[in-house]
Amino acid sequence: MTGVDPARSAGDHDGHSAVYRRLLRRETTASRSGTVVVAMLVVLLVAAAAVFAATLVLLDQRAAGVDPRAVVDAAVRAPSGLDTTVVVGIAAVVAFLGLVFLLRGVLPQRRPRHTMSSRRLAVVVDDEVLASAAARAARSATRLGPDAAVGTVGRRTVDVVLRPAAGVDVPAVAATEAVRDELESIDARPSLTAHVRVQPTGRVDG
């Protein structure tokens, strides 16, 4: 569906490739069920109001002194006899709600996840896990403390920032090499490129 191409990572799965493709596609895109629930509650509310109004008319009753038929009359006569500010305000809110539903339904929504190749399994990894793995790899090549490396993962890039204590020399090339090896072993889809940066402003360790 999107650029993730789960089919590639589900390449040699014996007989499960269709199932794996479906699983990976669903796991890498977000579910809209929360918005769907809200939208359906709105629809239910409207339907309930219409049922209530129709029942009142059919029984020839009024609710709180208002006849639903008079409401229809007022709507037909619009805009005369209505407070423009209030009506426009409510209509704008309704239109905005509709726009939100529409966009949530139409736009593709990717989760911050990557898929990994595997012979037997369908694998999805949260980007945060990839980031911490890359940070750990960079750190292990440099002998820095646990908080000195920070990783961020985008869709196609991994950025690792090393913040050594003031005066400590960092083997940046070795760190880059380590991160690259780690990413190579992970083999994520879409593929990731590593950028390792050493923050020049030193930190003072306590």
């Binding site: 699983l23 239910l44 129709a54 038929r69 209509a91 529409l102 399994l121």
Partner: protein
């Protein structure tokens, strides 16, 4: 991984969104622009039977249609709501054996697979916590293993370990179930790093 019908959900979102958007914008236009109000008045003639000026018979017919439409709409909304979630199942394998005609059925509960996988994977040093569930996917069964690794754990190492364990499960079941491995962030133990590198 659950059985939510996402196509239906998205379609209903688009439909409801379009209707609300059109209603809102239409109302704003009618309130503010004279030509839009004139168009609306020409249109609204068809709503005459719903108003106070209509005869009792015409009014009853028109409002009965409203009642029916609203009920149908409500039922549709409930149908869409009912498609959300679900899909978790209690059995992994159900087999009545070969054609030789030996009586009886073999059934393997999801709990058996869950326990076997949990104890094996939970013993891996880089795994903080995990959950195993069995879902119905495309008429078959699929296992979801959700692993929360410790901070800095190598995803490839986790994957390789789980692959080995799943291979054992394959041998045990005599069937290769589709397995989804989800390596997720956070969770118990993810704040601590591995002691041994």
């Amino acid at each position: 991984m659950n059985a939510t019908n996402r196509g239906l959900g998205r379609t209903s979102l688009v439909v409801v969104g379009l209707v609300l958007l059109a209603f809102g914008i239409g109302t704003v236009l009618v309130e503010t622009l004279p030509w839009a109000a004139a168009t609306w008045h020409a249109w609204a003639v068809s709503l005459r039977d719903l108003g106070t000026a209509a005869a009792r018979d015409a009014s009853v017919v028109a409002w009965t249609w409203v009642l029916g439409g609203a009920v149908v709409l409500g039922v549709l909304a409930l149908v869409v709501l009912s498609t959300i979630g679900g899909g978790r199942v209690g059995t992994v394998v159900e087999d009545d054996g070969s054609a030789e005609g030996v009586a009886g059925v073999v059934r393997i509960d999801a709990a058996a697979v869950q326990h076997a996988l949990s104890s094996a994977i939970g013993a891996m040093p880089s795994v903080g916590s995990l959950a195993v569930d069995v879902y119905r996917v495309r008429g078959g069964r699929a296992v979801r293993i959700k692993v929360r690794p410790r901070r800095g754990a190598a995803p490839r190492e986790v994957t390789r370990g789980v692959e080995e364990i799943v291979a054992d499960l394959d041998a045990l079941l005599g069937e290769r179930l589709p397995v989804l491995l989800e390596i997720a962030r956070g969770g118990a133990g993810s704040g601590r790093t591995d002691r041994v590198h």
